[in-house]
């Protein structure tokens, strides 16, 4: 029986899709059968970040509306056999997503996978609501910046009231904080909130600290989830977060952006 995890934030552009791709790929690397689902109907993007945009035939909405079978819409990752992607529709409007449809698809996926990662759209509208509705756990992606923290707080309120677990009076959705675009140098200067500050405000367990890193953009450029780059700090930080998501206790590291050594810089310039 799969665990359903929603990756959400309220605010856009904080790294939900990057994090969905990285956590999904990371779990698959650790041997877990994982499927990542794009809930951002009309603005399909997870397929690009995962590097399978040219293999999309059918999508999530086609399955919900009975126009395709689930196995036809699922795309198997070429790098990791445990990883599948369920892309969203680019043409339909967000009303095409229904609670009954989502539930049916999730129930079908539950038997075949260990983890179902739902990539929520920004905002708190239908897509975001349905992405979190059936979740068992939530990864709240937050930047150390006022509007992002505020929106995360709002989303935490919704997770504890507008989800199936909340409505049925079951054990609440378990939240995790994933702090992204963290820059220790700016924190040291007092220009960016510290991890401790954000934790004190949101008071939920910390899943990981992802440093601001040029590797993230490079990874999305080539359509490879950033965890594949084990040498990068962002990749290593996501790998740590994956371990914690699997329940392992590992020490929290605050990694900085990659710094090139003198020789590396010299070589890089001439390259």
């Amino acid at each position: 029986m799969a665990k359903i995890i929603v990756v959400t934030s309220g605010k856009g552009g904080v790294g939900k899709t990057t994090s969905t791709a990285a956590l999904g790929a990371g779990l698959a690397m650790r041997g877990k059968k994982t499927v990542v689902i794009d809930f951002d109907v009309g603005l399909r993007n997870l397929d690009m970040i995962m590097g399978c945009e040219r293999r999309v035939v059918f999508d999530f909405i086609n399955v919900i509306q009975g126009e395709a079978k689930l196995h036809q819409a699922l795309i198997k990752d070429r790098r990791l056999e445990n990883l599948s992607i369920l892309p969203t529709s680019q043409t339909r409007d967000k009303d095409a997503l229904t609670r009954e449809g989502v539930e049916k698809v999730l129930n079908e996926l539950r038997n075949d996978f260990d983890y179902i990662i739902c990539d929520s759209p920004a905002g708190i509208e239908r897509g975001a609501h349905l992405a979190m509705y059936f979740a068992d756990e939530a990864v709240v992606v937050t930047n150390p910046e006022v509007s992002s923290v505020r929106d995360s707080d709002r989303v935490l309120g919704l997770l504890s009231s507008k989800t199936r677990r909340a409505e049925k009076g079951e054990e609440p959705v378990k939240p995790h904080l994933l702090l992204t675009r963290y820059d220790p140098a700016r924190v040291a200067k007092g220009d960016m909130m510290k991890v401790e500050d954000v934790l004190e405000i949101l008071s939920i367990p910390l899943l990981g600290i992802i440093p601001e890193s040029p590797t993230v953009l490079k990874a999305s450029n080539i359509g490879t989830p950033v965890v594949f780059d084990k040498t990068s700090n962002a990749g290593a930080a996501y790998a740590d977060a994956v371990s914690r998501l699997m329940g392992e206790q590992i020490e929290m590291r605050v990694l900085g952006p990659e710094r090139r050594g003198f020789l590396q810089r010299l070589l890089w310039r001439t390259a």
Binding site: E145, V146, V149, R150, D153, R154, G157, V187, K189, G190, D191, M192, M193, K194, D197, E200, I201
Partner: protein, 100 residues
């Protein structure tokens, strides 16, 4: 400014510290508001109804201001009542336009 005070400058509050404090104050209020309905429009409507029992006030002459603080919040309701001139001009029959 003495030479000593130059060396003893009080440390500047960092912008990150300001961010944290602003969030703490705001979120304390927003979390509270979330549990109940948005009462401000209703409050404004009901106060206006009470006042209209006695005086005619147009809806747009009401201003509701809320200042949220850490220690306390203030709700300021500013209602502009018609002045003596406005009241008099209404009573002048015929109106000034016809009084030539």
């Amino acid at each position: 400014m003495t030479l000593l005070s130059f060396f003893r400058r009080t440390p500047r509050v960092s912008s990150a510290q300001t961010a944290k404090e602003r969030l703490q104050i705001l979120l304390a209020h927003e979390r509270q508001d979330r549990s109940g309905p948005d009462y401000l429009p209703l409050l404004q409507k009901e106060i206006l109804e009470v006042i209209r029992k006695y005086i005619q006030v147009p809806g747009e002459k009401v201003e509701v201001k809320l200042q949220r603080g850490a220690e306390m919040s203030t709700l300021e309701i500013d209602i502009e009542l018609p002045g003596a001139q406005a009241l008099n001009s209404k009573r002048n029959i015929p109106s000034p336009a016809f009084a030539r």
